[in-house]
Amino acid sequence: MSKENCYHCGLDCNDERIEFDQKSFCCNGCRTVYEILNQHQLTGYYDLESNPGTAPKDIKGKFDYLDNEDIAAQLIEFDDQETAVANFYIPTIHCSSCIWVLENLHKLNGGIKIALVNFPKKEVRITFRKGEISLKQVVELIASIGYEPYISLDSTDVKSEKTDRKLIYQVAIAGFAFGNVMMLSFPEYFQMDEYWLNRFKPFFRGLMFLLSLPALLYSGRDYFISAFKGLRHGILNIDVPISLGILVLFFRSSYEIISQTGQGYFDSLTGLIFFLLLGKIFQQKTYGFLSFERDYKSYFPIAVTRIAGDKEEQNISVHEIQQGDRLLIRNDEIIPVDGILISKQGMIDYSFVTGESIPVSKRSGDKLFAGGKQTQGALEMEAIETVKQSYLTQLWSHDVFKKENPKNIKSLTDSISKQFTIIILSIAFISGIYWYFQDKSAAFQVVSAILIIACPCALALSAPFSLGNMIRLFGKNKFYLKNTAVIESMAKVGTIVFDKTGTITSNRKSEIVYEGKELENTELRMIKTILRSSNHPLSRILYDQIHSSELGELTQFKEFTSKGIEGKIDEKRILLGSSSFVGLEDKEGLDTSVYVSIDDKVKGKFVFKNAYRKGLRDMIKELDLKYHISLLSGDNEGEKIRLEELLPEIDQLLFNQKPEDKLEFIKSIQENKEHVMMLGDGLNDAGALAQSNVGIAISENINVFSPACDAILDASKFDQLPMFLKLSKSTIGVIKASFVISFLYNIIGLVFAVSGNLSPIVAAILMPISSISVVLFATVSTNILAKKILS
């Protein structure tokens, strides 16, 4: 059978192909979206890109809390009783079709006036008429066409985004001053003692002075602040020599103008500030739109349904949950607090907490922990704590997260700038003394010229441009870094620690191995038929893996919670379930298995094994040549032998690791002065991820999950890890090479300065050339490297 892809979302239509309008769809959700768009003549959606859609999730009742005025008010940005504006973050926005359909929302519902998409931020701003459509209906509308907005506690906090605009203003002012000063200083470059020029000199110079004031005081402000802070802590960071250079430039130029001895270096001064800020802008631009700064709050719902005494459901915010409240947790909702299950049964997916992907079945009276996700229908529970004291919150409020910057990285630039500053100051001092005895008047000139020309502008630009460009290239390859310091840390790593579940194993697939008497085709078909009626996650996985057409009439079917299922086909009684269920003695196996019994004869069992990510074997082999490798797992030792066979290179295999144990393990390696890189997947190793020098979260869906890590790596690129490590090392090489280039320029400049020949025109030429050539070198060489290694 040829594989057909869903017309809407592009996934395989496995066995559930739905035909509609001569097109095939993988599920009813996709078909519904197509139908909605078709009805409103919005099928242009499919002309822009092929298979642009995302299958919508079941959202029934999920957004009921938006009817609560207080919660809705937190999301609405503007409201004048008639129209309201709300901004939603929608992770599934990914192509031009998305933009198109979201901006045509008014065709789906007349209550919506305008919808504007901000693609880089994955946000949509919706203006709607309150009389015709409520906030909840707006959310449900966009969710119904596969664009479910991401609403969490975070989005209700007021965010101020004034900071990045400040930089734009600073660059604008610096650029404005730079251009005009350059023009005004041009006539004097040629030193012509000409009548008119001499007449206008004071006017030109005065203007230059005035223009450079805002550039110095406003645009260059951050460098002084950072240098001052550094000095107060006794650190000579790169901003110290920069600030020194800028200040000397300004005071010497002002002195020259006032004393009428020369034109000063205002062009170099404003140019310098302008180039430095350009570097900063570039740095800011390279950080994608991934938000890493999330806390546990981002994963929690903002509201939950409380069941009052008389069965009345109220939507309350999670902070209002009291001990003893009865809560209704819907399908796919996260349990916000620890509690006791009241309903008959629940299927809780604890992958957030333990990393174990297979849901656990719970019965009435069992304790539920915060952070679990209900996967089958709705359940009722009783809260036994408030949000603040729950297990996850405790985990997240570990000391690791409290420190401002736990890693305290001393960057390459900073370590070089210290020596650099000392050398420059001593050169200035020595030549000052020399000239003092030679020619007193020239001493001041020379010392200030040295400090001016040695201003490490190019040096300051080399790291941001090499690292920034590399971050961008990593991002193209689905490896997203929090900031440039991560590349530097990656280059120093000595030990790599992997988490098992969800990191080296895939969350989506389990390998199923059958052990026992061989099953005939007819038997396999019967099993598949029975499985079809069961909704247990293991049944679903098994159903997908057995390839045979269904057959036979199910005459009897019964499901026994957390035991198994029983069915009758063609007078054969088939049992599928745990060992005790099929009549064997209770074996507490280490692995997850489903036993098969036909007509009271146990045939064998299906063993569920973790499916390791492709390329894992070769990757570990390659990494082992340069790194120590450890593997941690929260699971039992069921897979130990298999892992040891599969990955003999691993130095340490540890099982039954609680989140705290993982954290301690990382700490213990760090005590030996080793840099540790940790690869994990979720909340449960968030502590360890934060503690390690480089914490990388492996994610099957980048939009869904980004804990407090330094980087997010898309699962499909998992096997590229050695390449990324190699690249980060060579990036450091590029930085060092560009340091050398900028030193060369400095030496050339110093020769001019020490001999007392630094004219404004020399400074004005050297400064931009050095900066531009370093920037070019850094970006071009990182591009070439990335092409070579990642191709």
């Binding site: 002309d47 031009s96 504007l116 998409v117 931020k121």
Partner: protein
């Protein structure tokens, strides 16, 4: 030749006006998203076609 005072001051004033306009446009958020409009302008204006039944839609997949 004293006209040069006037000229330079005039050119600076014009430059300052442009600068103020630029700051204004940043403030009103015109530079917040420089990507989406580039996609938006490629969309065809809405022509509501008659949905004649049996119209085959051949999709050219764009990758």
């Amino acid at each position: 030749m004293n006209i040069i005072f006037m000229l330079i001051i005039a050119s600076l004033v014009i430059a300052v006006i442009f600068f103020i306009l630029f700051v204004k446009s940043v403030r009103t958020g015109q530079y917040d998203d420089v990507y989406t409009p580039s996609v938006r302008m490629l969309f065809d204006d809405e022509l509501v076609e008659d949905k004649s039944s049996g119209k085959k839609s051949n999709q050219n997949s764009i990758n």
